[in-house]
Amino acid sequence: MSDSQAKPGWFSSYVWSLDHKTIGIQFLVFSMLMLVFGLASSLAIRWQLAWPWTQMPVVGRALFPETGGVPTPEFYTVLFTIHGSVMIFFVVIPLLTGWLGNYLIPLMIGAGDMAFPRLNALSFWLMPPAAIAMLAGFWSEGGAASAGWTAYPPLSTSVTTTAGGAGGQTWWLVSITLSGIASTLGAINYITTIVKLRAPGLDWFRLPLTVWALFIAAILQLAGLPVLTAGGLMQLSDRLFETQFFSAQGAPILWQHLFWFYGHPAVYVVILPAMGVVSDVLSVHARKGVFGYRPMVYSMLAIAGLGFLVWGHHMFVSGMNPSIALAFQISTTLIALPAGVTVCHGLATLWGSRIRFTAAMLFALGFVALFVTGGLSGLWLTSTPVDVYVHDTYVVVGHFHYIVFGGSVFGLFAAFYHWFPKMTGRMMHEGLGKLHFAGTFILTSGVFLLMHQIGIAGMLRRTADPYVYESFAHLREPNLLITVSAILLALWQLLFFVNIAWSLRAGRRVGANPWQANSLEWEAASPPGHGNFSRALVVEAGPYEYQPSRTEGDNRPQARTISAP
């Protein structure tokens, strides 16, 4: 903080701050708080599926005093709605775009801050009201939204079809619209910053892949969100002013089109930044440049572009014309090509490298493994005849979570272990980190792998008690295993939080560049002061120039070393 005249107070430093790093960390803390709701609701779902209609531990008696702590069927519908909505809109999207985008973009392009710091602060401060609106549903008549995170009409538009239809669904729509505006403002800022504020010499093809991925994700947000907002406005006016867009006089299926036009690209919003992070982490910790930099950039662009042409594959059972279904099947299958390039790019980067098995590296490797697994089941799901059979079963739930947990969340963990020294000036405990990885990796498949099998056996999602059907009664045992794994997986994350708490106080202090990495954020102090860089940067190399044959001095920083002006 060499250039600051007067030290600002605690409030203006940490709360009403315009500094991109603080805003990034605000997104991080906010998402961690929202994770409590997302995680608790998922555990409650698992509890019900393992031990249906028994007293729910910890929160049962407080939530259901009239039944002695036993959940109600209506509450189960609230659980899966809140779990999906909170995890997507308030945990993974804010972490991957809000935290990574704000914290990393200016640092990695050598800028002092975002192009519009005020707009940036606004994009964060719209999130708490959005979260409050989401949770306000719990106190409205009938309870929180319970039409699923996809909010299909007529379930979502009628006030009588679900308990949450009375008031909670309206709050849900307000919440989604607010968080959509926040993301749009953020995306405008990210794109402008990357286009305009790159350091001298930092050409487009010298950008780290993380920045490319965040840039492409911002374009996806910008193009997809307005269409979701359009659908949201129609649904809101159906509920408030009795318009007929999605009623029997209108077309309920129109919502599905509008929702998935955003909803599918949203999947790439949460996977592309994780891919970019993993590329960078793989390269730094394998001491080798990435294999196929340009193919990777073009593949991410192709995934994003194709992402807008595939939404119909969510609607194969909606009664669409089979020839249209075929078109969507083909466009979806095409995505396997660029997605395959990204995986080969990761594996080929490792070939002939000198891997340092750090916690960050392990999570990046875990990403590659789990993304392949989830990706292959996705490829299989694109086939319309297969999808018609497994639609709305646990196959889809398993596939989706392999991508979003095994993919995005593993990418987030890799990012956290990799950039924690930059954010705090201290290393994390490597041993605890590796232990955290080992348990998380095994338990991830413990939770999500068997979902494919029970899905093929026919178990539908969103069913509070599948065992009332005789043909599903034998599925309780695999569900029991899934639930036990889920509880262990949640508890295992305590290691991560213990590690953070310990490292913040006692982690080894580090200098600017503890990983001997090349990209520009490692030129700044750890943690970087206001304005980020104490000297002018001139970039004269790409971010991936490593020499695996050497053990010392095997990296070449992107910025030329010149004395301070």
Partner: protein, 187 residues
């Protein structure tokens, strides 16, 4: 803007950050209307609209269109104004014509509601009211931006970048209206 980097040292194209950001914003706004208009057209093909003919006054809508286009023209004159008095004159004209457009819209809503036509009357009226209301909200936001940034410009004696960008937004709102006019009143 924080940081020591200056325009001359950067790698990016020579466009002001605010101008770039505005065009990106307009792209997302265009997609919002694309979603709404796309939905309107989807319902037209899936269900068809009937029973609303004759309830709308096309001459009045044509007048409203004229007002908004005229306002856009005045906005261009305002940007080009060299003297404070000309700037002030065109600024007031832009605002007044915009307010008159909103006034006509509100009047039209009143006429319709008095005739017993509401958003829940039919599928067509659902689309009509939502599209015009969302557009009207954009007109209101545009007027507020023109008022606020225009008053700064009048004080400074010349239009700066911010007012110029507000005018670009204003033209966008105008273009969207022309589309809506064709779609809702003439089709």
């Amino acid at each position: 803007m924080g940081g020591a980097v200056t325009q001359a040292t950067l790698s990016g194209p020579r466009i002001e950050p605010a101008r770039l950001a505005l065009w990106i914003f307009l792209a997302s706004e265009a997609l919002l209307f694309a979603g709404l208009i796309g939905g309107y057209l989807f319902l037209a093909t899936a269900r068809g609209y009937a029973g609303h003919e004759g309830a709308l006054s096309v001459p009045m809508a044509r007048a409203a269109t004229g007002l908004l286009v005229a306002s856009s023209v005045c906005a261009v004159q305002m940007e080009r104004a060299k003297a404070r008095t000309t700037l002030l004159r065109w600024w007031l004209a832009t605002l007044l014509l915009g307010v008159a457009f909103l006034g006509l819209q509100i009047h039209e809503y009143q006429v319709l509601l008095e005739a017993g036509i509401a958003p829940n009357s039919s599928l067509y009226w659902s689309g009509f009211f939502l599209l015009t209301a969302v557009h009207g909200l954009h007109v209101l936001v545009g007027l507020m931006a023109l008022f606020w940034l225009g008053s700064d410009a009048v004080r400074d004696g010349q239009a700066g970048l911010k007012l110029e960008l507000a005018c670009v937004y204003w033209h966008f709102v105008d273009v969207v209206w022309i589309l809506l006019f064709a779609l809702l009143y003439l089709a």
